[in-house]
Symmetry: C2
Subunit: 328 residues, 2 copies
């Protein structure tokens, strides 16, 4: 049905090899020949068949972005941003991108196994067996927003620790002494970093933060709101609350408003991720900005390097920044 390289070869009067070269390495054929070939191709509506090319070349130039369902989806703005950025960068690097959710991890793995994918970027907390499966299939793996000690995988993460430090220091500078934190059920790695940073900065300033300063909730506004209500109805309630992410912070805001507290006068609220939510709520949320774009780009770059046998730093940390808004 579609024209093949043979058709073009015949019409243009050159060999199939030359046609092939004309398309994959135009510099190697003489100007005049090239023109003849393109002309014939035009007439026949020919365009190279990527499948056949992949077959002959033994490479697909295809990479995948896998999001682990447990703590992440494309529905999370956070991962959506990373995804966007990966898409863009993949295109720049002349690679096709396949996106998949780990729900179909089996499928993802088989896609990969079937040699359709040369490397994968794993977002969210990947599982060990996944990773080793990929490795055994000789598929390059890069971790994004996650780390797996023990596995020798390049990873690019945001500076969760530093980000949290910024947030806490900001609140301390504003005079807050009684600061609480409400953690959602984020991935262990992320949660750990933030938690440790919180504790350390507090301690550095001579404040011992105990269990009374830590709330826990599901990653929904309502759950966060009730956790906040709980914290805020205690004897000496905190004057500032750090949300594990912006959704949680929004929940805190809600709880505060319902309790008649003014934000930021009576209670300062700080979120994490700097998602669009921050601008939606009233007052706007101060939040720790994560450079998702950069994370995605660097993820692709790492994979690219790996696939080209180049060096690639084992850990890349993308700096976080604090976006101060009206809620603090």
């Amino acid at each position: 049905m579609d024209a093949t390289i043979y058709d073009v070869s015949r019409l243009s009067g050159v060999s199939t090899a030359t046609v092939s070269r004309t398309f994959s390495d135009p510099g190697r054929v003489r100007e005049a020949t090239r023109r003849k070939v393109f002309e014939a191709a035009e007439i026949l509506h020919y365009s190279p068949n990527a499948i056949a090319r992949a077959m002959a070349r033994q490479r697909t130039d295809k990479i995948a972005f896998l999001i682990c369902k447990k703590d992440a989806t494309i529905l999370d703005e956070f991962y959506a941003r990373i995804c966007e950025s990966i898409m863009r960068r993949a295109i720049q690097s002349d690679r096709q991108l396949v996106i998949s959710t780990a729900a179909d991890w089996a499928q993802a793995a088989s896609t990969a196994q079937n040699k359709q994918v040369e490397g994968v970027i794993l977002g969210g907390s990947a599982q060990a067996d996944m990773v080793s499966e990929f490795q055994s299939k000789n598929i390059a793996v890069v971790l994004v927003n996650h780390r797996m000690p023990g596995f020798d995988l390049p990873c690019v993460v945001s500076d969760e620790y530093g980000g949290m430090c910024l947030a806490v220091e900001h609140l301390l500078r504003r005079g807050h002494r009684s600061i609480a934190m409400i953690a959602g059920r984020l991935s262990p790695y992320i949660a750990g970093e933030r938690y440790n940073a919180f504790l350390r900065v507090m301690r550095e300033h001579g404040i011992e933060a105990g269990a009374g300063h830590i709330g826990m909730c599901d990653p929904t506004v309502e759950s966060a709101a009730s956790a906040a209500r709980e914290l805020l109805s205690r004897e000496n309630r905190p004057t500032a609350i750090l949300g594990g992410n912006d959704v949680i912070a929004a929940g805190v805001l809600k709880a505060a408003l319902r309790l008649g507290l003014r934000v930021p006068e009576d209670l300062a609220v700080v979120g994490f991720d700097d998602s669009t939510i921050c601008g939606m709520v009233e007052p706007e949320l101060t939040s720790v900005h994560i450079d998702c774009r950069r994370i995605g780009e660097l993820g692709v770059d790492c994979l690219h390097a790996l696939l080209n046998g180049e060096e690639c730093p084992p850990v890349t940390v993308v700096p976080a920044a604090l976006r101060v808004r009206r809620s603090s």
Copy 2:
């Protein structure tokens, strides 16, 4: 490097044809043979090479979801939801999914041309030349959340018109007479449907809605807020405002709160899309729920039908529903 069908053939003592059948149509080989083959495959870590299979079969079982950048991204929760759903359904239908943004429309097209993709689902307002290009390449096209009169393409859309009717009727029932609408720069099709529905229902109730009842803004909270401020500072300000989507509604909410208006007592606000924003803001937003999940599923099903040469309804309308919350 990887084991091929030949290796398995040799080790198991059957022909390559039988090995092939064992994997692609196990029912056609005898139990005993099948076992032998699987055993050999296990030992050799063999798994079929999808590229080669695609080459031989002349089909890839691959479809694409293309989002048109102009008025949509994966960053829009709306499209993210559709995307998720398409992913899921594609997997169920044993099809691989490629996702792409129309920014790289050229690339998307070439991917498709190269015969890697048998059909595409176009999200957002597709362009005519795109579509005809696909059609000329004999690639099946399904439109999602959009319609293109003149092109004979199956499309699945949400009942924008009906959804808006629900919203307006709800407000009228609540006693509102002076209802305004703030439209963002949505795609012409969507905006049109909603606008017409608004006007019709108003007129049906004997209210002539003129330019004074229509605001326009960019699709950002701030822009929406200032548009709302403008409407609300007029002589006889509206008692209810319909946002073109939830972001806009959130902006309206902000403007109202800043002007000291109570919601819903002084002003009712209704959004569109029923995104997570609705739950984030205070008070929670009443919004028209769009069944993104269903849209995605039906999109895939349509494409599936098309590819199998089956019948497929030219237009599928997914009903919308009103989620009443505290803001109205």
